[in-house]
């Protein structure tokens, strides 16, 4: 399989959640959770999607998988527009795209054995039956570094890191091309995070997996991603190759975000320039006009309130949405 083709392409994706009020339940507004994002993911690469809570990164993931019906936009997976597909057709496509969730305590059914959890997708998609399921489950457990004998146990018997491995095994069961990892390590302890990230990297190499890696931890995203997109209040502010983004962030939000991350080195930490943003993220129900970031931006000008900046290619493969970046 060539490694230079586009596996996932998202075009101007919007996801607005309507708000209903009053006796007649009229729509009075909408939460603009995702408000026009475009990007693509190459086969075999890892695209990091970062942003703070409420920026719409998880909603983006769910609308890509058609778990929500997007308000507008197109999502191409292997050149098929997922939004135009019928329910049945979409179900078939889901084999190819799986998700790993944030909370390994809430995302596994406590009443199902680990074997049933991992084997369920095989039954739903009629891929294996009978004894073959058990064999596949045992193999998958081994692949993620768990003892195949654990298949009969229940989720509560496992630690957080082990549960996340179970979630990974379930996602791998259908041999997908794309795995969307939605904050897969943020609920885990530091020493366990490294174990899970190393596992994800090994599996990517072994099965030529493509990851959309969603996280708020920019250090970990720098480690795992090839390219990184930064979201703020429903839009992508900057997208670039990993090193370009971290070494030369162009957007003022990315700059502030990077400078806010604590560095585990007291000397390096004391010697760097910090941009501390004022205030909080505005509400996505009534987002600021023009540039979404202007209310907290240290370099905002009147024009930033007037028009929404285009998402422009400022340097080769380095995109940013800001009026002031040249």
């Amino acid at each position: 399989m060539p490694n230079n083709d586009v596996l996932l392409k998202v075009e101007d994706l919007k996801m607005h959640f309507p708000i209903y009020r009053g006796v007649f339940q009229r729509q009075v507004g909408a939460v603009h959770a995702v408000d026009g994002i475009s990007f693509h993911v190459m086969r075999g690469e890892t695209l990091g999607l970062v942003g703070e809570s409420g920026c719409g990164k998880s909603t983006a993931a769910r609308s890509i998988l058609q778990l929500y019906k997007p308000t507008a936009g197109r999502v191409f997976f292997n050149d098929v527009n997922l939004i135009a597909l019928k329910r049945e057709e979409m179900r078939g496509m889901r084999r190819e795209m799986q998700m790993i969730f944030q909370d390994p305590y809430a995302s596994l059914n406590p009443r199902m054995t680990v074997g049933d959890i991992i084997g369920e997708p095989l039954i739903v998609h009629r891929i294996a039956a009978g004894k073959e399921i058990q064999e596949r489950v045992a193999h998958l457990l081994e692949v993620v570094g768990l003892n195949p004998g654990f298949a009969g146990r229940y989720p509560h018997e496992f630690s957080g890191g082990q549960r996340q491995r179970i979630g990974v095994a379930r996602a791998l069961a259908l041999q997908p091309a794309l795995i969307i990892c939605d904050e897969p390590i943020s609920a885990l302890d530091v020493s366990i995070q490294a174990q899970v990230v190393n596992l994800l990297e090994d599996l990517q190499e072994q099965f030529n997996l493509t990851y959309l890696f969603i996280a708020h931890d920019l250090s970990m995203v720098r480690h795992i991603s090839k390219r990184v997109a930064v979201m703020y209040l429903g839009v992508i502010m900057e997208l670039a190759e990993r090193d370009d983004l971290y070494l030369e962030p162009l957007h003022p939000y990315t700059q502030a975000l990077l400078s806010a991350i604590p560095i585990p080195d007291p000397i390096a930490d004391a010697n760097r320039k910090r941009v501390i943003l004022e205030g909080d993220v505005p509400s996505p129900i009534d987002p600021p006009s023009g540039c979404r970031f202007r209310t907290r931006c240290p370099i905002a000008e009147p024009m930033c309130a007037e028009s929404r900046p285009d998402f422009r290619e400022i340097k080769p493969n380095h995109f940013a949405a800001c009026h002031k970046v040249v």
Partner: protein, 329 residues
Amino acid sequence: MPDFLLDVQGLETQFKTPDGIIHAVNGVSFNLKEGETLGVVGESGCGKSVTMLSMLGLIATPPGKIVAGEAFFFGHDLFKMTKEEIRHVRGAQIAMIFQDPMTSLNPVLTIGYQLEEPLILHLGMTKNQAQARAAELLSIVGIPNAKDRLNDYPHQYSGGMRQRVMIAMALSCSPQILIADEPTTALDVTIQAQIMDLVKRLRSELGMAIIWITHDLGVVAGLAQRVLVMYGGLIIEEAPVNDLFANPSHPYTIGLIGSLPRVDKNERHRLYSIEGQPPALYQKPQDCSFAPRCQQALERCWQENPALDLVADGHRVACWVDVKTGKPR
């Protein structure tokens, strides 16, 4: 005047559960000097929060029980105080803020009421005095239109603002010590930066000592002067902050630092991962509780629990192995 503001010796706390006794804290000793910021680092279940809660008499008994230890605050043992006495210390002299600012605030009382209560209770202010002071406190922690916002309820504040309210509340009686238990863990990084900036400013203005509990070594690096690393209910390493990051001397500390990717470094190597999991603490450790996960463990590590030993000025380590040579210390 004693040498230390706070001096804890041999603290042991246990919890009775249906599955057996959990030995959460197994003999922790540390001290805190005036105006000092002490970082306490460790993963979930290492005993860092229980240590602080025990000190302040905030452990529910039963199931919890402090089985040994002394904690001297200005020369008085906190564990020997009556409920009344400890209540006066707590809040007025040692204040604590917690991880989750939503659950630490009462949702049905206004922010103003919750801020004024300790002022009236501990400092004997009148309602009017308390109200004025509450507004002042809110503006100190950087909440705009402080006076108008006193009548708001917690849900009308964002997460970062709620944590500011918690800090305002903690500062309200001008405590000598502020204990912060993962106060920025639930917040976004840009908000975390705001809060850390605020704490640094308040620290230099008010001169209080701070104990900052966290699992984030990055936060400790930017804030603390001295650091305790905890594992399995014990302090396994203690050092001045620069020394800890330059010469980590316990295999666990080394592993923890190595398992962190760096946002400021342009390098790409496999993350160091500490295999296995933290101990369950159903028994009081007889040997080194890190030995099962340690790549340098020697025979002795499985037989005896190492005590904290001085390796450099102010730098103490509980390990039988000299990590540089891999030989016994």
